[in-house]
């Protein structure tokens, strides 16, 4: 865990230094599709088609950029009519399950080459806020949890002009276990625009 905090600190320092040393910035806005794993899949095991992310980076070297990523995804699943027993009590009905995920991370990317197609790989660290609701009848059971987050990613930038690119990437949000909640994963497949600026 200590190493992870050092990693976040280095990335944070990188952002500050890059603002001073290099002028180029990269802003991207993407539509996200999410595939659940682990504890998330146990609650809602269907693909999320509702998500978006925003990222701002600055160049540290011509190949390396550092910045921050904010995202939002909502997972939903309607369970068929069923019975749920705890102790001597049983509750039957249709369950509606929702997971609202808000990952936020500081991250770094390494871009390969300088052509029209530029593959890149990166890693980030931060936190993800998980707002989890299970609705049954007029009752809603709600859990809120902050998880520590590590998020490796890889993608391609397809240049569409001197200042814009189409950005396609895959990011895996690996949320660590907490005292009250299981670890989970969210495989994001993202597409959107990247804008270069000064």
């Amino acid at each position: 865990m200590k190493k992870i905090y050092i990693l976040i600190l280095i990335m944070g320092l990188g952002i500050s230094l890059s603002s001073a040393l290099f002028a180029q910035s990269f802003t991207s806005i993407q539509y996200n599709v999410g595939i659940p794993f682990g504890g998330l899949k146990d609650h809602t095991d269907q693909t999320s088609w509702r998500g978006m992310s925003f990222e701002y980076h600055r160049a540290v070297t011509p190949e390396i950029t550092v910045g921050a990523n904010l995202a939002y995804s909502v997972f939903y699943q309607r369970m068929p009519y069923g019975s749920y027993t705890q102790g001597n009590a049983t509750l039957s009905g249709v369950q509606y399950r929702y997971n609202n995920l808000f990952p936020m991370a500081i991250n770094a990317h390494y871009t390969f080459g300088r052509g029209e197609f530029r593959p890149y790989a990166g890693i980030g660290a931060g936190t993800v806020y998980d707002l989890r609701n299970t609705d049954m009848g007029m009752i809603s059971f709600e859990n809120r949890e902050w998880h520590f987050l590590i998020c490796p990613e890889a993608g391609i930038l397809f240049s569409t002009g001197p200042e814009t690119s189409i950005k396609l990437n895959v990011k895996y949000d690996n949320a660590f276990k907490t005292k009250d909640a299981d670890a989970f994963g969210n495989m994001n497949i993202n597409i959107g625009f990247l804008f270069r600026g000064r």
């Binding site: 802003t27 806005i29 049983t90 009905g93 959107g192 625009f193």
Partner: protein, 206 residues
């Protein structure tokens, strides 16, 4: 390019707000059935029950010590009949209360209305005189409401008295749902809920 950025943000924002999952579409998808029982109670040794011919209404009159009100027979008869049929089909026998049955089955029901209330919509009496043209208005109804109903059935053993001098509840079930639809639709949902309560209580089987 700035315009493209703004359009991208607006597009994604709209996409998310328009596509948020909504949940239940039909009234019966909100119906729930709850059961609980005393695991120490020997249901296998009990065979007879008695039940009233009315369903008590839990309302303000009851809570304020006034006369007891009852659910309309058009609804109550379905509730009582369905409970009776389920008990008989599980091997229980019905007795009158004077014949000293093993357990008493006591149904009661209540209704709760929840108001979604936008109180600013009612302040016209106060601000209308101060704003030209009668002030502003809300483009949607200021008040809406929904009513939920619950049927609660307690099985008590009159021979078991708890510390507060009341018969102990050995089994209970509750059905909760929206009070919507025609009488026949409502009664069908209630009957289905009662059947489910017995289905998820296998310890009642003789």
């Amino acid at each position: 390019m700035k315009l493209l950025k703004i359009l991208s943000l607006v597009f994604l924002g709209l996409l998310l707000t328009q596509c948020y999952p909504e949940g239940p579409e039909y009234v019966d998808e909100i119906d729930i059935v709850y059961t609980n029982y005393d695991p120490a109670y020997n249901f296998a040794a009990k065979h007879t029950f008695a039940m009233p011919d009315k369903v008590m209404k839990i309302d303000n009159d009851l809570l304020n010590g006034k006369d007891t009100n009852f659910i309309k027979p058009i609804y109550a008869n379905v509730m009582l009949s369905q409970i009776r049929q389920n008990l008989l089909s599980k091997g229980w026998s019905e007795l009158s209360i004077s014949q000293n049955p093993d357990v008493l089955v006591a149904p009661a029901a209540y209704e709760v209305t929840t108001y979604i209330y936008d109180y600013w919509g009612y302040y016209g009496w106060w601000y209308d005189g101060y704003y030209p043209g009668g002030g502003w208005y809300y483009p949607y109804p200021a008040v809406s409401d929904y009513s939920t109903g619950s049927l609660i059935v307690a099985m008590v053993d009159p021979n078991l008295v708890s510390a507060n001098d009341r018969p102990e509840v050995v089994w209970t079930f509750a059905i909760n749902g929206l009070l919507e639809g025609t009488t026949s639709q409502f009664n069908a949902r209630v009957a289905k809920g009662i059947d489910q309560a017995f289905k998820q209580s296998p310890y009642l089987q003789k």
